[in-house]
C-alpha cells in the first residue's frame, strides 16, 4: 500500500474549506463536492503531495471490492439513512481490506486511501442531507473532516469503518455480533453512535478486542438496546478503573459493575 509523506497539518493548511480567504474557501468547497476523478485532478494540480510505497494489483482489487460492496449496500438500502449502515460498512471494509493491524494508526496510509478512493462514499455517508439542501459549505466541512480527520484522525472514513469491523470480528463466530448490533441499529433507538466513538478510539486494548465485544454484546446486541447515557456511562466506568485490571474480566463483572444492568 501507499502512504502520504505529507503530514496532517499540510492537509489542514491546503485543503480545509474553512479559509479566511473567500476565493480559496470557495475553490476548496467546490473541490470537496466534486466527483472522485475530478477531485484527483484538483489535488494533483493544487497540492504538492508526496507518496511512498507501492500498490499491488491484489491491493487494488481489494479496494475495488470494498467500493463495489458499498455500492450494492446503498442500492439495497435506498430508504435507510446512511448513518444506520455503519456496522455493515465496517464489515465490508474489514472483510475485504486484508491489511495488517500494524497499519491501524498509520494515519498517512489512511489519508492516502481516503483521498484517492473514497471521496464519493464520504459525500454520501456524511453530507447527503446537506447536499440535498444545497448547503455545500456545511457539506464540505463534513466531507473534509472525514476525508482527512480534521480534528481527530479516528474520523478518517475508511479507518473508522475498518476498525469497527476489526473490533467486532471473531475468529470462531465471524461477524455474528456485528450483524446483531447492525440489525438493532436499523430498528431501535440507542447509544450506537457513542459506542462507535469509543471503539474507534485507540484506548481499548484487550486480547482479541474482548472489551469492545463484551460491551457491544451487553449494551446493543440484546433485545433491549441500551440508551446513549448507559453506553457513555459504561465506557466512562471501564476507562475510569485505573486500579483494577479488568480487561479480561468475565461477563458478570461487566454486566453488574461496568454496565450496571
Amino acid at each position: 500500500m501507499k502512504r502520504y509523506l505529507n503530514n496532517h497539518d499540510y492537509f489542514k493548511k491546503e485543503l480545509n474549506p474553512e479559509s479566511t480567504d473567500k476565493a480559496v474557501s470557495s475553490n476548496r468547497t467546490a473541490a470537496l463536492n466534486m466527483y472522485q476523478k475530478d477531485f484527483l485532478k484538483y489535488i494533483s494540480a493544487e497540492l504538492k503531495l508526496h507518496e511512498e510505497g507501492e500498490v499491488t494489483h491484489n491491493e487494488l482489487q481489494m479496494i475495488q471490492k470494498v467500493k463495489t460492496e458499498i455500492k450494492k449496500l446503498k442500492e439495497k438500502n435506498r430508504n435507510i439513512s446512511p448513518q444506520n449502515l455503519d456496522f455493515e460498512l465496517g464489515k465490508i471494509f474489514h472483510d475485504n481490506l486484508k491489511i495488517d493491524r500494524q497499519l491501524i494508526n498509520d494515519w498517512n496510509f489512511w489519508r492516502w486511501l481516503s483521498l484517492n478512493y473514497f471521496l464519493e462514499k464520504i459525500q454520501w455517508r456524511w453530507a447527503k442531507e446537506e447536499r440535498a439542501k444545497t448547503n455545500m459549505d456545511k457539506a464540505a466541512k463534513n466531507i473534509f473532516d472525514h476525508l482527512i480527520g480534521k480534528n481527530k484522525n479516528h474520523r478518517i472514513f475508511p479507518r473508522r469503518l475498518w476498525i469497527i469491523g476489526l473490533r467486532l470480528h471473531d475468529k470462531m463466530n465471524g461477524y455474528n455480533l456485528l450483524d446483531k448490533i447492525s440489525q438493532n441499529l436499523k430498528t431501535r433507538q440507542g447509544g450506537f453512535g457513542d459506542y462507535i466513538n469509543n471503539i474507534v478510539d485507540d484506548k481499548l486494548v484487550s486480547h482479541n478486542d474482548y472489551v469492545s465485544k463484551i460491551l457491544g454484546e451487553l449494551l446493543l446486541a440484546e433485545t433491549k438496546v441500551q440508551s446513549k447515557s448507559v453506553v457513555v456511562r459504561s465506557f466512562k466506568k471501564y476507562n475510569g478503573y485505573k486500579n483494577r485490571l479488568i480487561s479480561e474480566a468475565g461477563r458478570e463483572l461487566f454486566e453488574k459493575e461496568i454496565c450496571q444492568l
Binding site: H50, R101, I104, N198, D202, H207
Partner: protein, 331 residues
C-alpha cells in the same frame, strides 16, 4: 473519549516486587536477546555477524520466554501485608503478565501465575510482528482475585484490584520517529545563511525551531538518510536549548499540555522525576538552577543517544554500511 477516574477507597500497594528475566528470539534471525534492565531495542541492533537488524524485514514472529522473579526482599511478607489477616496468599492473589502494543491496540492473552511458581515457571509467547508497531510492553501485576466482603481501611477488597505493579519492560522493533520534530515545534523560514534558528524566547511560548525554507521539501519527507542523520545529530543541541529555556526562562505551566509533555520528555531524558523538574523551574535560587542544569544536561546528552527510540551508534553504523554498499555498487 472522555475519561475520569473511578473514586475507590484508597488502599495500600507495593510496587516493583517483580523483575522479568528471559529471552527474545526472532524467526530467521540468529541470536538470542536478553530481557534485562527496562528496555530492549532490536531496531538497528548489530548482530554477531556484523549485520544491522531491522526486525520487520527479517522476521514475521517474535518468540518470548519470560521468567518472572522476585526482586530482593521479603516478598511474601510484602504481599501478605496487602491482604486481610484471614486470607490465604495462594488463594487470594495471582501474578498476571500482559504483553501489549499501544500503537496497534493489540494485546495478548494474560498469563496467570501462582505466586509459588514465580522464579520457576517459564512463560512462552509467539507474537506476529504484523500485529505490532514500534514497540511492545510486557507488564506484570499482582492482582486480588477474590472479592473480600468486609471493609478494612487501606486494604483492597474488589476483585482484580492491582496490589502491585512493575514498570513495563519494552521491546522496540521499529524506528519510532520520536526524533525529528514529533514533540518539538519546527517550521520553515527564510534564514539566509543559517540552517537552523530558534525563535526569540519569552516565558510563555515554547521556542520554535526554524529551519531554512530552501530545505522544506526535503525536511517534510521522512525517507531521506541525510535528513534523518542531520536531525539525529542536531537533536542534543535542540534539547539542551529547551532544557535551558524550561529551567531559566519559562513560567511553570503544567496545565498546558504541550508544556507539560516537553517537561515530561526532558525529565525522562535527564533521569529525574517530572515533579523535581517542576520544582526547579519554580525555584528562585539561580545557583541551584545552574547546578541542576549542569547535572541534567550531561545526562540528557548521554540518554538521548539511545533512549529515544533511536540508537545513535547503531544508526551511524547502519548508514556507514549502507553508504559503503552503495559506493561499491556505483563503482
Amino acid at each position: 473519549m472522555e475519561e475520569r477516574n473511578i473514586e475507590i477507597e484508597p488502599y495500600k500497594v507495593k510496587n516493583n516486587l517483580i523483575k522479568l528475566t528471559g529471552e527474545v528470539r526472532l524467526d530467521s534471525v540468529d541470536g538470542v536477546f536478553l530481557i534485562e534492565d527496562d528496555k530492549l531495542n532490536l531496531y538497528g541492533k548489530e548482530l554477531s555477524n556484523g549485520e544491522i537488524l531491522i526486525p520487520r524485514t527479517k522476521s514475521k514472529v517474535m518468540n518470548l520466554k519470560i521468567t518472572p522473579k522476585w526482586e530482593a526482599g521479603n516478598y511474601l511478607k510484602d504481599v501478605k501485608e496487602l491482604l486481610h489477616d484471614d486470607e490465604n496468599i495462594s488463594d487470594a492473589v495471582l501474578l498476571r503478565l500482559r504483553i501489549k502494543c499501544d500503537k496497534t491496540c493489540w494485546s495478548g492473552e494474560q498469563h496467570k501465575i501462582k505466586l509459588s511458581e514465580i522464579g520457576k515457571k517459564v512463560i512462552e509467547a509467539k507474537i506476529p510482528l504484523s500485529e505490532l508497531s514500534e514497540e511492545i510492553e510486557i507488564e506484570s501485576f499482582i492482582t486480588r482475585e477474590v472479592k473480600y466482603s468486609k471493609e478494612v481501611p487501606l486494604k483492597a477488597t474488589e476483585r482484580l484490584s492491582i496490589l502491585s505493579q512493575n514498570e513495563a519492560f519494552k521491546i522496540q522493533i521499529d524506528n519510532m520517529k520520536t526524533i525529528g520534530g514529533n514533540f518539538l515545534p519546527i517550521e520553515p523560514k527564510k534564514l539566509k545563511d543559517l540552517l537552523f534558528q530558534f525563535s526569540e524566547a519569552n516565558k510563555h511560548d515554547i521556542p520554535i525551531i526554524y529551519y531554512s525554507d530552501e530545505l522544506e521539501e526535503f525536511f517534510k519527507r521522512n525517507n531521506l538518510m541525510t535528513v534523518n542523520n542531520t536531525f539525529i545529530f542536531i537533536m542534543p543541541a535542540f534539547l539542551e536549548h529547551y532544557l535551558k529555556w524550561v529551567i531559566f526562562t519559562s513560567q511553570s505551566n503544567p496545565i498546558d499540555k504541550e508544556y507539560d509533555s516537553l517537561v515530561e520528555k526532558l525529565s525522562t531524558l535527564c533521569k529525574c522525576e517530572k515533579s523535581e523538574m517542576y520544582e526547579v523551574i519554580s525555584d528562585n535560587d539561580t545557583e541551584k538552577k545552574l547546578q541542576k542544569f549542569l547535572e541534567w544536561s550531561k545526562k540528557l546528552f548521554e540518554e538521548i543517544q539511545y533512549k529515544s527510540g533511536i540508537s545513535f551508534r547503531n544508526e551511524l553504523l547502519k548508514n556507514i554500511k549502507l553508504e559503503r554498499k552503495l559506493k561499491k555498487e556505483i563503482q
